[in-house]
């Protein structure tokens, strides 16, 4: 198979895809948000249990392609025990890596670094970002005091594919 392909479907990515973490719904979550990728119709639900600004539990449900499922699984793994601030910053680093603005070395993204190869397949970048955009909307909603909201994946950099740009410019941060 092609090298490009191998760099996208890295061992660790396929591993997350086949045995995704965070698939077990939390007994209790403080905020949950559903993200939707209108290009493919895939959906992901990110739920968080939060105490004193610290993420104590994460679920990452829904169906999607290998990239979105793997990304959601990594999300569930990496966020465990992080503060909301840290979660935001990881999301931002991940977005920047996916858009080639930083290299994996410049951030501490763990397994997420394995998704770097998706860059070679621009239309799939939004698959990788879907769980993270959904997460950010969840955090934003949580901080507003809300409990549930819908979202779409976004990709202002890539610009221009339907349904991938948010209305509010604030949301453009991921």
């Amino acid at each position: 198979m092609s090298l490009e392909l191998d760099s996208m479907y890295r061992e660790v990515v396929l591993d997350h895809y086949k045995q995704p973490r965070g698939r077990c719904p939390l007994d209790r979550h403080d905020i949950e948000n559903e993200g939707f990728n209108p290009v493919c119709g895939d959906e992901v639900k990110i739920g968080l249990r939060i105490e004193d600004g610290i993420i104590l539990g994460v679920h990452s449900l829904g169906r999607g392609c290998s990239i979105s499922v793997a990304s959601g699984s990594m999300l569930a793994e990496i966020l465990q025990g992080k503060t909301l601030e840290e979660a935001r910053s990881i999301a931002e680093d991940f977005r920047r890596m996916m858009h080639g603005e930083i290299t994996p070395d410049e951030a501490d993204l763990g397994d997420l670094e394995a998704l770097e190869g998706v860059q070679k397949f621009p239309v799939r970048i939004k698959c990788a970002l879907l769980p993270w955009t959904t997460l950010l909307d969840a955090i934003e909603a949580y901080e507003r005091g809300a409990r549930a909201e819908k979202s779409t994946t976004e990709d202002p950099q890539l610009g221009g594919r339907p349904g991938i740009v948010h209305k509010n410019d604030e949301r453009r941060s991921v």
Binding site: M1, S2, E4, L5, M8, Y9, L14, K18, V39, C40, G41, D42, E43, R63, G64, C65, S66, I67, F121, R124, C127
Partner: protein, 415 residues
Amino acid sequence: MAESSPLDVARIRRDFPILSREVRGKPLLYLDSAATTQKPQVVLDALMDYYTHSNANVHRAIHTLGEEATAAYEGVRDKVAAFLGGVDRRGVVFTRNATESLNLVAYAWARPRLARGDEILVSEMEHHSNLVPWIEAARVTGAVVRTIPVTDEGLLDLDVYEELLGHHTKIVAVTHKSNVLGTINPVAEMAKAAHDVGAFVVVDGAQAAAHMPVDLNTLGADAYAFSAHKMLGPTGVGVLWARPEVLEEMDAFLGGGEMIREVHMDRATFNEVPWKFEAGTPNIAGVVGFGAAIDYLQALGMDKLNQHETQLTLYARDRLEEIGGLTLFGPRDAIHGGGIVTFWDKDVHPHDLSTILDTHGVAIRAGHHCAQPLMRRLGVVATARASFYCYNDRDDVDALVMALHECRKYFGHVS
């Protein structure tokens, strides 16, 4: 054993310059013609010839370029009229695409005639373009959209259709051929039943007109819509056909230059049909290029093209079924469909499939194919679709099958 194709595909392929390009280091294998087709050199030549010799605005110029541009543009109207079985040229309206054609009918024919409680029957296998305009027309007028369901075989449930038909039925909106299932619907029969209750029949011909002979004198459609880009023509050209009397009865749609007769500051009278519906400068070059596409298709023969695609589709279904792990949608029966194979791999998401195939140079489509209600009916979010045209042959199918095997291996499923 294999019937030989009525088309000389090897020769045809040489007419399509894009087919010699490479994708990610592999020769391009284009299996997404149901989305849009590639263009033969003659179409590109017609575009270039227009722009380098006759480019001018149409209809109103006295100068030579204007005369040539008008003759070329209006000449294509004659070609389209002939292509549709020899209909009256005044029934042929040029639009941007099938979608605009369908909206034109929904705005200018349907909206003024619909009232609360009226019913619009729309099939469950419609492309969004023949569904959203009716949802919106219903929303605005208080009419109701009712669904003609799809059977497990991927056909329209005609029993339910007959039951739904009644004096409330004002419009029946149905596709001639599904872009997902390949199903060819019995439009003539359905139109007859619809006309018996006085309903107006709008047919989405985007897939059918491109792939089989269509005779609008006998089909029974009151309005018929399709796109040039799906039949070797340029992007930005669609056709709405309706009988001239129907067009004359219809309200105007877009207002502006070309479509008027006399304009005062507070009132306007409209031009004759079909120009009444062609407001502003049309896509002149696109229409001229479409003329060359029609000539090309006529030279191939629409019946031969259809026969070729049907053979190829049967072959593809057989080969895909051999793989195992794939679900194939749509009727197998050649009378009911062709040109399209839509499938679902239980182990590999359609978009992963599509990405992996792309690294083999194979372009298929993955997604809901703008037919979300049908996806729901099939119980999937998205599917993979391979679609064929005059430039595809069995070698392409074999290459697709090989690539699919690789995909499954890649995801660790030995098939």
